[in-house]
Symmetry: C2
Subunit: 251 residues, 2 copies
């Protein structure tokens, strides 16, 4: 899986984040932290109100090293230099807008262009009013993050976090499974356990030998859902043995 990981990380290297006219330097720091957690490495700022700034450094926390590599630009055109696909993040409805897609489609489009060797940009506007129409029309797509109709005020760094997460997910997919997990019990281990369980339950008179079917079905369903591990079957068989021993000793 190492090769897939490396290929995914390489794709993320072609995806840049552009923040236009950011007002609060703390948001730049939080954005850089959000990017770094997701493996995005290139941040460009178009005329930030204040940068560098101690608030940016403070909010970046363990990602403060990335602040040294931030590129500060005079215009959006400069920040988009070399990018083949620019995706504007915008919550506003506009009369004349590029194709409106949702953030997951946007992340998939970004990764698929990056996989074809192109550079891709996600463009975020200023905190209060977002991107201007002129800025949006320099992009080929407008992406929207779905929010509550009652409260859509997503913080700038939170938007960057969602976009970075969706982009990483699109590039690298579901990695949770790769974790080494304790081995599952084999078919035979499970069947030996069920046989021992049934015998023990009959011995205890919890089930009648001739009416054991329904109870055993329920127990098979429960343990089937649980996806028993090999070690767990050992523990369960040990428990059954202990009960069996104890029952034998009873007068």
């Amino acid at each position: 899986m190492k090769e897939i990981d490396e290929a995914g990380e390489a794709l993320l290297g072609r995806v840049r984040i552009v923040l236009s006219h950011t007002t609060k330097p703390g948001n730049i720091g939080a954005a850089v932290r959000a990017m770094k957690t997701m493996g995005l490495r290139r941040l460009l700022l178009v005329r930030p109100a204040q940068f560098p700034h101690r608030e940016a450094t403070f909010m970046a926390a363990g990602a403060a090293d990335m602040l040294d590599r931030v590129e500060v630009c005079d215009t959006l055109d400069e920040a988009l230099h070399g990018a083949a696909l620019a995706i504007a993040l915008s919550a506003r409805r506009r009369d004349l807008s590029p194709v409106l897609i949702d953030v997951r489609e946007a992340a998939q489009a970004a990764v698929s262009e990056a996989a074809a060797g192109a550079d891709v940009a996600f463009v975020f506007g200023t905190e209060i009013s977002g991107l201007s129409n002129d800025e949006v029309l320099r992009c080929q797509r407008v992406a929207r993050i779905g929010t509550s109709a009652r409260f859509s005020s997503l913080n700038l760094a939170a938007s960057v976090q969602v976009v970075a997460h969706e982009t990483r997910y699109a590039a690298l997919g579901n990695r949770a499974r790769y974790d080494s997990r304790t081995p599952l019990a084999t078919h035979e281990e499970k069947e030996h356990f069920f046989a021992a369980l049934q015998a023990s339950l009959e011995r205890s008179a919890f089930i009648d030998r001739d009416k054991s079917g329904r109870v055993m079905e329920r127990l098979r369903r429960l343990f089937g859902r649980a996806m028993l591990e090999s070690q767990e079957v050992n523990v369960l068989r040990g428990m059954l043995n202990a009960w069996d021993e104890a029952m034998r000793k009873e007068p």
Copy 2:
């Protein structure tokens, strides 16, 4: 689509967020804001270090109203009261862990249980060390947000934002399409335009009448990809007319 929206919002009402032993009150405020943007309404705190606190109110911004409804609990059991599915957020590897799933699977599981009428909880641990083993084992699933191997230090509120976004997306899906869009051009409108375009290009001698095929194929490809709108076809035909008029006037 209003019915689907309302059904989705109702599902989100059954999903609670639990923050255990939160150290920084600012994170509680930022978490509440993240929740509100995504339509999550119920926050429970297990023994927060400081709450209520002005930092929480400040970071909540337009979501500060939700702070009045936050439930403060003494134990995780209390916070999970009534919940049928509890999903622990954890980045750490553990020897004995509930089933490990990724954040998208977790959101889908949460929404599917909510759709069946159950209450669901996402449980987040303290900022530095996360959830204890004892807390994790009170949950039925452990969810992980995929992060860079080099820097996995996701801020608490940023994690809540990702989980809330994934949950909203699982409940409500892709809403970008629902926006009213200018009507697309019909087949006839497009074919009239292509005919006029070809005639004009032949008149201008840009293409030969007998070799027009390849150029027209390229132009059809370009305009096909662009998904022409009705109004745009009108503008384009107007442009062609103007060129045609100007050509006629040439000596």
